[in-house]
Amino acid sequence: MTTEMTETPVPTRQPSATEPLDALARLESEAIHIFREVAGEFDRPVILFSGGKDSTVLLHLAVKAFWPAPVPFPLLHVDTGHNLDEVIDFRDRTVERYGLRLVVANVQDYIDDGRLEERPDGTRNPLQTVPLLDAIAGNRFDAVFGGGRRDEERARAKERIFSLRNSFGQWEPRRQRPELWNLYNGRHRAGEHVRVFPLSNWTELDVWRYIKREAIELPSIYFAHRREVFQRDGMWLTAGPWFGPRADEPTQELTIRYRTVGDGSCTGAVLSEAADLDEIIAEVSASRLTERGATRADDRLSEAAMEDRKREGYF
């Protein structure tokens, strides 16, 4: 070995040799194990990275799994074109800090050249599926890491950590492989790929507690701030050129924060004064709404909204 590689920066906390293996440490070890299995068994893995809290935790775990070597995978972002600037800035800074390669699949490109049509409600989350599948096929990615958690939604609760997708990217719940012990079966045929969910067993609260323990940086929109918002379908949406407001939707400046990062037209903010991690953890602990129910219009579409989208090849 002659060439000197760049050091992979890890936001380390105080090392402790005697820290017990508590629930969070177990979840961390499990996720790291999953990352290493994929690195050992697949040729072209990729990490879905949106700059949201789950994918940021995912990337942090990947960095820890391969430290002190760099993460041996590129990142993929399916950009709806409806993202808040703070999130895109954060995404780009994070990618640069770790020296990774970012592949961006733009929904806007598909709309511009007519491959996809803007929906009447302006929501672009469902439009992500085609650019995602094209990016997977075009780059011949065979393993795609996502930040999905089983506590998010009932259909996700049934999905495996290694979730085989057919050559159309579809999830077939009746044909899932049994997942035994911590032995993962990543075998797939040419054209198929496997979605891998290292955070499967984490809850929203676990994610926040881990962010605090590891001092992981997040986009500022997760913390309470003043913002021009308007109300639609009971959710607070950011006023901006893409999302509205329509003429009958008055805007006002409120103190809000985001619980999830997604397409701006259907991802709502919550009224919140939680300005730091302790306050967010307290707020999430006391919350009576799930994060998707509180902030995602697309998951409210039908009782089986998520299952249907996953069957089509969604995350």
């Binding site: 070995m1 002659t2 000197e4 590689m5 050091e7 992979t8 890890v10 380390t12 090392p15 402790s16 040799a17 005697t18 293996l21 508590d22 629930a23 177990r26 961390e28 070890s29 499990e30 790291i32 194990h33 290493r36 299995e37 690195a39 050992g40 960095v63 820890k64 799994a65 391969f66 430290w67 002190p68 070597a69 089983r150 009932r154 259909a155 609760a157 049934k158 009746r174 492989r177 049994p178 035994l180 012990w181 911590n182 032995l183 079966n185 075998r187 797939h188 045929r189 499967s200 067993n201 809850t203 609260l205 676990d206 009576r288 799930t290 129910g293 509180a294 009782e303 089986a304 299952e307």
Partner: protein
């Protein structure tokens, strides 16, 4: 005390398992308002007067339509004492493979019976599968106790019958608890029931919070499957070479003498690395990177084990298979075996016995092993594997059988002849009556 408990549920159709899980989530306030609203709406749509808590867990469209649970659902709830990862496994007979899946990682299993029906054949089969997979503790939830007027005598009969069965399967006294519950109205699930003053034990949730768990075999001999070789060369880490993996059993410390299998080269541990700093020891369940004292050739799939108590790599061994595929297994089948981080080709030799679920006995020399059947086989592998007996180590005694053609998972594999312990009724009278060592699933 561990602050994380992994548990699985099992039971027959209509025992009210989804309702029980829904009740646990509901009463621990793990269900949030919007989810509950959706359940209320769907219950009203179905013409029900009270919310159907099973809708909290039946996640797939076909499950809700048919009113049955098809697939393992994972649920998460927490109390101030513990976090719980719950694998809710379907009771429908053709989905036994899901029970195997849920049980493979469980530290405790909750079996449900209907107080009006008592212990059924399927209850006995489920208990046998849980024993085979080494789930250390069982809870028998005698459900719908409200429908038998909270009858103590009836409960005692069911509890005794089940405890006797579990004891025959190798469960030590104290590892099995029976609780009278009503998932529908909530008796003894989270809140103590006023209707069962004769029951002095803990509620289900109290038991789940307080039951001791030995999450990983800490005292066992050290085992470390190498998942990935981490190499880099930086100013801080000159010619770094570390072996990444998760401690599967035992504990490792710097200075420990180890052997790398299957090659058999000996060396010692120089450092136990993590990004948070080097550790003075790493116990089972922890993902770390080992730096060794000598430069020897190690790659993914190798096993690093304690030098004093290392497994002997074998290329032929007895195993118990829980067959999970529609395609029947026949002697001579060519398959892949994934053990630890190594996948090797294998040939199934003779099928030496099949477990008769009805009689809880083994039948010698079956022609095939079909979906949901459990049998003992002889396996020959293309390369030697450093296996342990499953009864000794659930991690390094487990393997997957994979279809080399389509990549599907064919079977859950357990090294050794653990099936013998399940012969609680040794009534087939075969000459090869195996009365070998009982597998003790408990600590």
């Amino acid at each position: 005390m561990s602050d994380l408990l992994r548990l699985a549920t099992a039971g027959s159709v209509d025992d009210g398992k989804s309702t029980l899980v829904g009740r646990l989530l509901y009463d621990t306030k793990s269900v949030l308002a919007d989810t509950l609203d959706a359940v209320h709406r769907a219950s009203v749509d179905k013409g029900l007067s009270t919310p159907d808590l099973s809708l909290l867990v039946d996640g797939l469209r076909s499950e809700r339509e048919q009113g049955i649970t098809i697939d393992v659902a994972y649920r998460y709830f927490a109390t101030p004492k513990r976090s719980f990862v719950l694998a809710d496994t379907p009771g429908h007979v053709q989905y036994t493979r899901n029970t195997v899946t849920g049980a493979s990682t469980a530290q405790l299993a909750v079996l449900l019976v209907d107080a009006r029906k008592g212990v059924l054949e399927q209850t006995r089969r489920h208990a046998a599968v849980l024993a085979l997979l080494g789930v250390p503790r069982l809870v028998l939830a005698v459900n719908k106790i409200d429908l038998v007027d909270y009858d103590e005598a009836g409960f005692e009969v069911i509890a005794k019958e089940f405890t006797d069965h579990a004891t025959a399967l190798g469960y030590p006294v104290g590892s099995v608890l029976s609780i009278p519950v009503s998932a529908l109205v909530g008796d003894n699930v989270v809140e103590r029931s006023p209707h069962t003053p004769w029951y002095t034990g803990p509620t289900l949730l109290q038991h789940l919070e307080d039951v001791p768990v030995e999450p990983d075999p800490h005292d066992a001999a050290f085992r470390f499957p190498v998942q990935y070789v981490i190499r880099t060369n930086t100013a801080e880490h000159t010619d770094y070479r570390g072996y990444a993996g998760q401690v599967a059993a035992g504990t490792v410390r710097p200075g420990d003498e180890v052997v790398v299998l299957p090659a058999g080269r000996r060396t010692s541990v120089a450092r136990v690395d993590t990004p948070d700093g080097a550790l003075t020891e790493a116990e089972a369940g922890r993902s770390v990177t080992l730096v060794l004292a000598d430069e020897i050739d190690i790659s993914r799939g190798d096993l690093i084990a304690t030098a004093t108590e290392a497994p002997v790599p074998v290329d032929e061994f007895d195993a118990t298979l829980a067959w999970l595929s529609d395609k029947p297994l026949r002697a001579g089948a060519r398959v892949l075996v994934k053990h630890g981080a190594r996948t090797v080709q294998a040939v199934v030799g003779e099928l030496s016995a099949r477990f008769d679920e009805q009689k809880l006995a083994t039948v010698p020399a079956p022609q095939t092993l079909d979906l949901n059947e459990i049998g003992r086989v002889r396996l020959r592998t293309a390369e030697p594997l450093p296996v342990d007996d499953y009864a000794v180590n659930r991690r390094t005694g487990a393997f997957l059988v994979i279809d080399a053609g389509d990549g599907s998972t064919l079977a859950a594999g357990l090294v050794g002849a653990g099936l013998q312990a399940l012969e609680t009724d040794r009534n087939w009278g075969g000459t090869a009556a195996t009365t070998g060592d009982l597998v003790s699933p408990g600590p």
